[in-house]
């Protein structure tokens, strides 16, 4: 099946700093999602981004499907941005439709 790798595994920032999280995937995908998992375990949808660029406030994401990677940008980070960030994708076609494969996550800690 598809492999999803995220980097860096850990990231420590001071409040106000910018950061870029990367997600590489091993096969062509028909969608890609970014999530933020809060300390209580809830996965919060950030972006549904099969290709192109989207922005939502201080967050933006870019997926380059032909090169099999996606980037999540966080600008002017705040302490509430702390948590684990996951990317996830299903494999295009075959019998894997809808089955999301997750990366191992990036643990983000933002200090005041």
């Amino acid at each position: 099946g598809i492999q999803v790798e995220q980097s860096p595994p850990d990231l420590i920032l001071q409040e106000g700093a910018n950061s870029t999280l990367r997600c590489n995937f091993s096969d062509s995908v028909n969608n890609l999602q970014w999530f933020h998992q809060n300390p209580w375990g809830q996965l919060i949808n950030l972006f549904y981004i099969p290709s192109g660029t989207k922005q939502n406030g201080r967050l933006s994401a870019t997926t380059v499907a032909t090169e099999r990677y996606s980037l999540l940008y966080i600008s002017s980070s705040q302490t509430t941005d702390s948590g684990v960030y996951f990317c996830a994708a299903p494999r295009r076609g075959g019998t894997s439709y809808g089955k999301l494969t997750f990366g191992q996550g990036t643990i983000l800690t933002v200090h005041p």
Partner: protein, 110 residues
Amino acid sequence: DAGVTQSPTHLIKTRGQQVTLRCSPKSGHDTVSWYQQALGQGPQFIFQYYEEEERQRGNFPDRFSGHQFPNYSSELNVNALLLGDSALYLCASSRANEQFFGPGTRLTVL
């Protein structure tokens, strides 16, 4: 518009027991997927239900079974619990490609 809901929030069981977890999808969604998340790991796909049938299954033993009801809600059943089944169990619902997750059920097996 209520999101995905799961019950119970927490559950403690002993080895060998059986457990049933429940999920109600987001309004308008017809597909429910279940995931297991061990501590420090990303969620792992268990199975997916659509039109009351299991459509896909991940690498989980037959001790893990499920059901989808006509109102699209779903149950996850785990028999003969093992210590290694301790995890956060997440339910996701979708209608097209984008999946939305519930708050999860944290299962502890003693």
